[in-house]
């Protein structure tokens, strides 16, 4: 190693030690813990793959995975469609548009717990905002989080409300689309829809792909609002809530760590699948 390279190495050494101590070691430790029966206090007892076998036999695991999967399937496309539409709307340089950009982005900077508490009121069956508006039109609103059938729609509404989070990336991508493409399309007689279909959407696919991957990860890691709000019939028992409860309510660290590895595998698998589909729909020059 040259002297200059060695100096560089020494400078990154604290970071490298941090990576080993705080990332690589916990991952290795987690891999080991997932193979043990450990209640956090006593010594971990090696039990091989029993935790993984128990996970797949557990009804709670199946239920929480189903709750999360169903949410992800619906929420991810909904959020992408909503935030993309918002981005297209606020990308125009009309007067006062900056205010709308701030308003739409604002949910992204609000704490998850605060959002959950606000939505607890919005979705209140008797005095909530939504049912209040519905009752104005003489429509009896549902019980939302108190009715198992309406728990998922409740979470989807919350997800859409926070869709502005990815607004910035879409806006940046929209601004990158060359104006001359639209000008050429206009000369060729393309209407607004055709411009969106043949120019905007194809050129936005790389950023849609990026948000799709992040959206899948976020959906499977949904925790804060679900932990605060729950939902009737355990319909609000998302995977991460189940994992947290197993670890810190039931003190089954080995089992919970196995759940974490399974979640990692699921997300990895989905990311690989999405990545594989990239060649069919993501535009690249």
């Amino acid at each position: 190693m040259k002297k200059r390279q060695r100096a560089g190495f020494y400078f990154i050494l604290p970071w490298l030690i941090g990576l080993i101590v705080f990332t690589a070691f916990p991952m290795l430790a987690a891999a080991y813990i997932s193979l043990t029966d450990w209640d956090i206090v006593g010594n971990a007892k090696f039990i091989g793959l029993d935790n993984f076998k128990n996970v797949f036999r557990s009804e709670e695991f199946i239920k929480s995975l189903w709750v999360t999967f169903r949410y992800a399937i619906l929420a991810v496309p909904l959020i992408i469609a909503t935030s993309l539409t918002m981005a297209v709307m606020v990308s125009k340089n009309y007067k006062g548009m900056r205010i709308f950009r701030v308003i739409y982005y604002m949910p992204a900077i609000v704490s998850g717990v605060a959002v959950a508490i606000v939505f607890k009121w919005i979705l209140d069956p008797s005095y909530g905002l939504i049912n209040g508006v519905l009752s104005f039109f003489h429509i009896k609103g549902p019980d939302w989080l108190y009715d198992p059938d309406w728990v998922l729609p409740s979470y989807l509404i919350m997800a859409m409300w926070g869709a502005g989070g990815s607004l910035l990336t879409y806006l940046a991508a929209l601004k990158d689309i060359p104006q001359d493409l639209y000008d050429a399309a206009m000369i060729d007689g393309a209407n607004t829809w055709k411009k969106v279909k043949y120019i905007t959407i194809p050129l936005m696919t790389p950023i849609i792909f990026y948000n799709l991957v992040l959206g899948i990860i976020a959906a499977f890691r949904k925790f804060t609002d679900a932990y605060v709000l729950g939902g009737a019939g355990k319909e609000g028992n998302f995977y991460m809530v189940y994992l947290y409860e197993e670890a810190f309510s039931h003190y089954r660290m080995g089992y919970a760590t196995a759940l974490a590895w399974i979640l990692f595998a699921i997300i990895l698998l989905l990311t690989i699948i999405v990545n594989w589909t990239k060649k069919y729909w993501v535009y690249s020059e």
């Binding site: 604290p14 209640d39 956090i40 206090v41 069956p125 409860e245 810190f248």
Partner: protein
């Protein structure tokens, strides 16, 4: 030269990092005390500790460790890191679990042979919450049994006879009063007899029929008994007949106690600590009402069992047999008896008025109910059993009054018994 300087910089960085992770060393007569108290409660807690330290005159010193959020996550993480606080508060449900995990010191011998605080001084039902496997694992420092708060003004105006401070009313009589109240108009609202929304705890109803969840041996599940099912039948009646607001409706006023404060329900199951007296005092004259107090209705086994929430101060396993630590634990526990209501020891009931003079009107009921204060028979598997009781039984019944709770109780019994068999 440059190389040496670089090596020293790296060495110092690593050293400072490792130093940050290391456990602070402290004297053998200094003990840390973890509490969930925050804000005003923490200031009061600190004052109690300061007083105890002063009285110890240097023999030992207690240092406060405040963990106001994610308390149990942090406590368990500290224990896992072999950095357990010396003393910490532990809620009754977790005593057996932590004891089984080996996190707590067994204090049985020191407790039994103490000169100033022995088991007989405690209310039996309260102390049972700190007992597991025939040993004591902590000193209870607070009790908060449930009593019935009722709106005496509403009762009088609706012409309904009030229960008395030490009434021997039954659950059937309680439900009958709910029927008399529910549906009546009062102060412009339709009122309910009581409010049930997951509170009071399910134990209240299971005991109501003379049943229980876990037998005293800690190994037998008795949830499927006819007595337990009869008790749940009382709950079903209340929900089915609309004697309580709908479960989905309760949150509309914020929380269940607000329904009582806003005079929308006549009777409220509340812990004796609930400070309705202060809240009513602060109301506008037109909103004020007189609060009445009654013990829990008598269960079918003849006792007015009252679910009691108790917390204990426990000692880290590493201090087992340490007499100085136990002396400090005992001193601080006794100091708590003059700080929090209700002191869980007999003969200290008058402390309640000293601590909160507004509770004087409730004293007769509080003194009466302490003899019937009890918690469930908690075992290490409780968190799993409780999950089933809550989601599969209580919430299911709250959401659907026609829910087949009897079959569900059979299922939970089988599930719980199976859990125990795997010990």
């Amino acid at each position: 030269m440059k190389r040496n300087i670089l090596i020293w910089i790296v060495f110092l960085l690593v050293l400072s990092m490792l130093n940050g992770c290391s456990k602070n060393s402290k004297d053998k007569n200094t003990f840390t005390f973890a509490t969930w108290a925050a804000g005003t409660e923490l200031e009061e807690f600190q004052a109690v500790i300061d007083k105890v330290n002063e009285e110890a005159a240097g023999e030992y010193k207690i240092e406060v460790l405040s963990i106001p959020s994610d308390y149990y996550v942090k406590i368990s993480t500290k224990i896992a890191a072999k950095n357990s606080p010396d003393f910490f508060w532990l809620t009754q449900e977790l005593i057996s679990k932590y004891a089984k995990m080996g996190a707590l010191a067994d204090i049985t011998e020191q407790f039994k042979h103490s000169d100033s605080l022995i088991p007989d001084m405690y209310y039996e039902g309260v102390l049972a919450s700190a007992e597991y496997n025939g040993s004591y694992w902590g000193l209870p420092w607070i009790a908060n049994p449930i009593i019935v708060f009722y709106n005496k003004t509403m009762f009088d105006e609706l012409g309904i006879e009030c229960p008395t401070a030490t009434d021997d009313w039954t659950w059937e009589e309680f439900i009958d009063i709910c029927r008399q109240v529910s549906g009546k108009e009062y102060k412009g609202n339709t009122v309910y007899g009581t409010i049930i929304d997951g509170w009071p705890n399910i134990e209240t109803f299971i005991w109501a029929g003379g049943g229980d969840i876990i037998a005293k041996d800690g190994e037998t599940i008795v949830l499927a008994s006819e007595e337990a099912k009869k008790g749940m039948g009382y709950l079903q009646t209340i929900i089915k007949e609309g004697l309580s607001p709908r479960y989905a409706e309760v949150a509309s006023l914020g929380s269940n106690n607000v329904w009582f404060e806003k005079q929308r329900v006549a009777m409220f199951f509340g812990g004796v600590q609930d400070n309705f007296e202060t809240k009513v005092d602060k109301m506008d004259e037109s909103e004020k009402f007189e609060i009445g107090y009654a013990p829990m209705p008598v269960c079918d086994d003849g006792s007015p069992w009252s679910f009691d929430w108790t917390a204990s101060t426990v000692m880290a396993k590493s201090l087992e047999g340490n007499d100085l630590a136990y002396k400090a634990l005992e001193a601080v526990t006794k100091a708590f008896f003059e700080w929090k209501i209700v002191p869980p020891v007999k003969g200290s009931i008058n402390n309640v008025i000293k601590i909160n003079p507004k509770k004087e009107v409730a004293m007769e009921t509080i003194a009466y109910i302490m003899d019937y204060a009890r918690s469930a028979n908690y075992i290490p598997e409780w968190s799993d059993i409780n999950d089933k009781l809550w989601y599969n039984l209580y919430v299911s019944l709250l959401n659907d009054a026609s829910f087949d709770y009897r079959s569900q109780m059979d299922e939970i019994q089988a599930y719980s018994q199976d859990l125990i068999s795997k010990r």
